[in-house]
């Protein structure tokens, strides 16, 4: 981590697999009221990565896909990085195929690897995920897997060569925030060197800020912005929260204490007051 510099509360760079990612808020591109509002929201958020899902049946028509052209135009002018994802896959083989199609279509080695194990909660399938991650890493992909907060799974994904892991906060689209706070804290403590991104389940800027304060390196979300009454303003709010949370992590949060402690020094007060007896 870079040293905080003089008076500027500059954010440290996020580096994944040797590449500087230009932002710690990452955004999806579905569910917006219109492509124009999506564009304005991206502008307001300044996301590091922008995710796009690929559908097997329609992937071959990407060249004249108007929606993709709009995203591509925005990527060209903004510097954000495209992150294709394998949304909707239920097995390693499906995800591997889709990742290869995405690489061919978009000319990018980045892939958000998503393998769903349970349809109702859209919970990742850890077993298929690991199989797919190993294979895709071997094929030269930069794999960012969407996973649960299980420590052993995250460790194995990192061992497999994933340059980062993306544990969920809560099921996709629920907006419930960090459901297993203790598990996520443990993950951060036990894997201090790993790049970890909270992906899915964030509904409020305060939840994104909480993730950043815990030391997660970035957050990825979609619904909370796209389905807000005013998506553009919500994108700004999330950007501010992510910045604030990262600054707080860099600055070093105070440790919680059991006992009240006056923040203004009370000069001349004898030490025996501390036991509560006058």
């Amino acid at each position: 981590m870079a040293e905080p510099t003089n008076s500027e509360p500059a954010l440290d760079n996020l580096v994944i697999d040797g590449e500087v990612i230009p932002g710690r808020l990452w955004l999806g591109t579905s569910l917006y009221p219109s492509p124009s509002i999506m564009g304005q929201s991206l502008q307001a958020a300044g996301p590091g990565f922008v995710t796009v899902s690929v559908r097997r049946q329609t992937a071959c028509q990407i060249e004249d896909n108007g929606h993709w052209q709009l995203i591509d135009d925005w990527l060209q002018q903004s510097g954000s990085i495209l992150l294709p994802n394998t949304a909707g896959c239920h097995s390693a083989s499906e995800a591997i195929l889709l990742a290869n199609m995405a690489r061919e279509l978009f000319g990018s080695r980045w892939i958000k690897l998503e393998v769903i194990g349970e349809d109702y909660s859209l919970q990742p399938d850890p077993f298929e995920l690991l199989v797919a991650a190993r294979e895709l890493v071997a094929q030269g992909f930069r794999v960012l897997p969407y996973c649960t907060e299980d420590l052993v799974l995250c460790q194995k994904l990192l061992d497999a060569g994933c340059p980062a892991v993306m544990p969920w906060g809560a099921p996709i689209g629920t907006g419930r925030g960090l459901q297993n706070l203790q598990g996520l804290k443990t993950l951060r403590e036990r894997l201090p060197e790993a790049v970890m991104v909270i992906d899915a389940g964030l509904g409020k800027p305060s939840q994104a800020m909480q993730a950043m304060e815990l030391g997660f390196d970035a957050v990825l979300l979609n619904t909370a912005v796209a389905r807000a009454l005013d998506p553009v303003q919500m994108a700004s709010a999330f950007a501010a929260a992510v910045n604030g949370g990262r600054q707080a992590w860099q600055a070093g949060l105070m440790i919680e204490r059991q006992q009240a402690q006056a923040s203004t020094p009370t000069l001349g007060l004898p030490f025996w007051h501390q036991d509560g007896k006058a």
Binding site: P33, P35, S36, I37, Q57, T58, Q61, G173
Partner: protein
């Protein structure tokens, strides 16, 4: 004897979908000579308007549509009944127009979708019972007895309506011909720098109106296709009298009653201009929704699965733009029936097209009309809804 029409402007319309047909009809009624050109064959219609469910649902669409469309939608809601009456007067045939409102429901596990909808209504200042009625399970059952019993809450949007679009399109084309207009099918229109060619031959007109939707990329390069898939079922024994929308975190699905015991269920929304047949996945999603809305529909017969492509602009709002040969109108997207009459009113007011629309029908008098409608609805509410 001199032709009294000779000095009138002459209009040529590219695209015989909803917009082209409505424009052709309104112009022909005024005595203008109108020629329409459609790329598809007469008996294999390709217009998105043919595949659509044809709801006029400004309230239900408000949370998922671009700002400003709500007001246009309300204008259209007021213009449609009058236009359908005029069409009936001319052709002798009535287009069924459902005006019993529509229902929004959600599974008990997805109640937050209803809360989300309520929040959008509140933000838009919509609270009058004539526009929005929260309903409980008993009231839902009262309004639509054949709806599944597990829906315990929802909304009734009493002013929403829907129409029989396939019949409308056929009647509009018949009406245009009756009034002397010509419709040429299998006609590929190409706009050059100055002239316009139809099947490679130059065709002159005083003004061209390009209403081609996704086919009109030539006049507006920002138009993109958004695939939609629908399902038609037939269930004469099951009576659901109003459109019912199933709010769900992942899908926007609705069931719309059509005549002769038929229902249309739609619609997927996929960012692609792919016109290939309906996918297994989409069919499964739609069929699950049918079954969830009313298990009695399990025995319904599937009579059609079709897909088409809606024309969307980046703003998801309609746009009228000047081209060298006239005007190009596009971008009605998912909202053809919701927006077309209001767009025609704009064409008359802002672009001086002689369409014989009384703006009062959609504005000043509309307040009175709405008032009358509200009184009517209050009575209906008292009759239909248990206290």
């Amino acid at each position: 004897m001199p032709d009294p029409l000779q000095n009138r402007p002459q209009f040529a319309i590219a695209g015989v979908g909803l917009l082209g047909s409505l424009l052709g009809w309104r112009l022909a009624r005024q005595g203008y000579r109108v020629n329409l050109f459609e790329q598809a064959s007469e008996h294999t219609p390709a217009a998105a308007a043919y595949t659509a469910a044809a709801m006029i649902a400004p309230w239900a669409e408000l949370p998922v549509c671009a700002p400003g469309l709500f007001e246009l939608g309300k204008q259209s809601r007021l213009l449609w009944p009058q236009w359908l009456a005029e069409l009936q007067q001319q052709t002798g045939e009535a287009v069924p127009f459902g005006n019993r409102g529509s229902l929004l429901v959600a599974h008990p596990a997805d109640q937050s979708e209803l809360t989300d909808f309520a929040q959008h209504m509140q933000r838009a200042g919509i609270s009058s019972p004539a526009q929005l009625q929260p309903v409980n399970g008993e009231q839902l059952h009262q309004l639509e007895p054949e709806l599944a019993g597990h829906f315990q809450s929802g909304f009734w949007l009493p002013q929403e309506s829907h129409l029989e679009n396939r019949q409308l399109l056929v009647l509009l084309q018949r009406a245009i011909r009756q009034l002397g207009g010509q419709i040429q099918y299998d006609a590929e229109v190409r706009f050059g720098d100055v002239d316009v060619q139809v099947n490679g031959q130059p065709v002159a007109a005083e003004q061209w109106l390009d209403c081609r939707g996704v086919g009109g990329k030539q006049s507006n390069s920002q138009v993109r296709g958004v695939r939609g898939e629908v399902l038609w079922i037939e269930a004469p024994d099951v009576v659901i009298s109003r459109p019912v929308r199933l709010l769900h975190p992942r899908y926007h699905l609705y069931l719309v009653p059509k005549s002769a015991g038929r229902y249309i269920l739609g619609a997927t929304e996929i960012e692609s201009d792919d016109r290939s047949p309906v996918s297994v996945r989409s069919a499964l999603e739609m069929l699950s929704a049918v079954y969830a809305l009313s298990p009695k529909l399990a025995e319904a017969r599937i009579i059609e699965l079709s897909s088409n492509v809606r024309p969307g602009l980046p703003s998801h709002q309609p746009e009228i733009r000047q081209i060298p040969q006239g005007l190009a109108i596009n971008g009605l997207f998912r909202h053809g029936y919701l927006l077309a009459p209001a767009v025609l009113l704009q064409l008359q007011q802002q672009w001086q097209l002689p369409l014989d629309i009384s703006p009062a029908d959609a504005s000043v008098d509309a307040v009175l009309l709405q008032h009358a409608l509200q009184q009517e609805l209050q009575q209906e509410l008292q009759q239909e809804l248990p206290a």
